[in-house]
């Protein structure tokens, strides 16, 4: 269980997070929605220790704030950053291969046949393109590769930062269906999204973040029907 209490994050004098409290239960799919600049990415970067924070972040009771990014990954907390961070000069296969470094030494290869099989089943397109350099993939494929590579690290929780960014609606739906599938197999998922509609549809519980604070929370279905959310984030007024 991931638990965050009174989390503050700073970029120099700017306070990006102003006291966040949230909880992600094991096996859950939790969404955090909010506008640009609300602090969503900062929140994930705080969990994976890429920014300095005050407050507490614990994973199954263990304090994460004392660890560094690599150790966080080794504990099974895998952050997939926004903007399709793949290794452009490596092939699809090599990208996945490198992802397995999380559970063995970088000096030697591990046995990841089963992991690969699972990922190729999930994203058949990655198998078709396994010898292609990652930069030559389409946006959606790059995002799938980023998720696949994170799965190669045998995570216990996936932190997904705006997986829908810059993708066509059809691709977004496909990707989120895959994320559902991963979640149904027992993976805990924390999704940060600007695309509130998709995020609420594919999660069980959601938080709304605005200006560094959690303004609302509740089961996703309830939030999706809440008038304030509909007006502010889903972009349509109910008649």
């Amino acid at each position: 269980m991931l638990e965050i209490k009174d989390l503050h994050a700073y970029y120099g004098p700017i306070e990006a997070l102003k006291g966040i409290n949230l909880k992600v239960d094991e096996g859950a799919a939790v969404a955090i929605i909010g506008a640009n600049g609300a602090g969503k990415t900062t929140l994930l970067n705080s969990i994976s220790r890429m920014v300095k924070t005050t407050g507490s972040i614990t994973w199954n009771g263990q304090d994460l704030t004392v660890l560094n990014a690599t150790k966080i990954a080794k504990m099974g907390i895998m952050h997939v950053p926004s903007g399709r961070h793949v290794f452009p000069g490596l092939t699809v296969y090599e990208n996945l291969e490198v992802g397995s470094v999380n559970w063995h030494s970088p000096l030697k290869d591990g046995d990841y046949t089963k992991d690969l099989e699972f990922i190729y089943n999930l994203f058949p397109r990655l198998e078709e393109r396994k010898n292609q350099l990652a930069w030559s993939l389409s946006g959606g494929e790059q995002q799938m590769l980023a998720v696949g590579r994170a799965l190669m690290g045998r995570p216990k929780i996936l932190l997904l930062d705006e997986p829908s960014m810059g993708l066509a609606p059809v691709v977004v739906n496909e990707l989120f269906e895959k994320i559902d599938e991963i979640n149904q197999q027992g993976m805990t998922v924390l999704i940060v999204e600007q695309n509130s509609k998709v995020a609420l549809h594919h999660s069980s519980y959601a938080y709304v973040i605005d200006d560094g604070k959690i303004t609302m929370e509740g089961p996703s279905e309830e939030l999706a029907n809440d008038d304030r959310i509909v007006e502010a984030y889903l972009g349509k007024k109910r008649g």
């Binding site: 994976s48 890429m50 990014a69 690599t70 990954a73 080794k74 895998m78 952050h79 997939v80 950053p81 399709r84 961070h85 793949v86 290794f87 452009p88 000069g89 490596l90 090599e94 990208n95 291969e97 490198v98 992802g99 470094v101 999380n102 559970w103 970088p106 000096l107 030697k108 290869d109 350099l133 930069w135 993939l137 946006g139 790059q142 590579r149 994170a150 690290g153």
Partner: protein, 288 residues
């Protein structure tokens, strides 16, 4: 036949530059820093192998084995002293400036330890290779063989081994590499170690041709020129560029002896005017 002789000399000089340029390029790719002390690392390599050979009286294989170990340690030490403490500095040029400082420190260090008088070093095999009317110092042939062998090893390391992939990944996207659990400190350290082994070996090979002195470091200028000529930031380009520089230098002797360095840099300027990205300077186009 004179041309063949010149070509072989040119290639072997180019090989020395390429050993430096490869290391430089690997560091540029891994941490984005141009290492201005690279010539001094090359020089340090020459002094260290001189020490192993003449102060410790090790046989050839001992020099090679100990040399590689000592170079790897030096590479790691260099990284932890010159790069690591400054890596998060808010001004990006800081590390580059610190490499400039390191180059001066290294130069002074060897002069304090080994004195200012140039030291002589025997070639691996004494004598002259004789074929028809071609007369060549054996050392030139060894440079080509050992240099080429090392390059092949580095190629295998980066393209065929898991550690190589991890190092490439770290170089391509450091932020992401940390998030997926790559201990970036290990892969950056490995890059520095390999880089130092390459230039240190270069220094060992160059020692018998020149004298072992603190001015060996100035050969790095040609390595920089080769890097730019081949296309900055590309390992293959750096090697080809350096071999070309060696050839230009060697064949430049036909025209003039005194101005051979000027010819090298004149060619460099002309190439850059015609093709500013260098020969292999096509970047991997990243999708937006």
């Amino acid at each position: 036949m004179l041309y063949l002789q010149m070509a072989i000399t040119g290639i072997s000089m180019g090989m020395l530059y390429a050993l430096m340029a490869m290391g430089l390029t690997l560091i540029v790719k891994a941490v984005g820093v141009l290492n201005f002390a690279h010539g001094q690392l090359f020089m340090l390599g020459a002094y260290l192998t001189w020490m192993l050979t003449y102060s410790l009286n090790l046989p050839l294989w001992g020099v090679i084995v100990c040399g590689i170990i000592v170079f790897a340690i030096c590479g790691a030490a260099y990284m932890f002293s010159v790069y690591w403490p400054l890596r998060n500095s808010s001004w990006k040029v800081t590390v580059t400036i610190s490499t400039l400082g390191a180059s001066i420190a290294l130069k002074e260090f060897v002069q304090i330890v080994w004195g200012t008088i140039p030291l002589t070093m025997k070639p691996i095999v004494n004598g002259v290779f004789h074929f028809g009317t071609v007369y060549l110092n054996y050392q030139y042939i060894f440079i080509i063989l050992i240099g080429g062998g090392l390059m092949a090893l580095v190629y295998i390391l980066f393209e065929k081994t898991f550690l190589g992939k991890v190092m490439q990944a770290t170089a391509q996207d450091r932020y992401c590499a940390e998030l997926i659990g790559i201990p970036t400190i290990v892969s950056i350290m490995a890059t520095y170690m390999i880089s130092m082994v390459l230039s240190g070996t270069g220094g060992w090979l160059a020692g018998p041709l020149f004298l072992v002195s603190s001015s060996l470091g100035s050969l790095a200028q040609k390595a920089f020129a080769g890097m730019v000529l081949g296309g900055f930031g590309d390992v293959k380009g750096a090697i080809v560029g350096c071999l070309l520089i060696g050839m230009i230098e060697s064949f430049g002797l036909i025209i003039t002896d005194a101005y051979k360095d000027a010819i090298v840099f004149a060619v460099l300027i002309i190439v850059l005017v015609v093709r500013p990205t260098g020969i292999f300077g096509e970047k991997i186009s990243e999708k937006a």
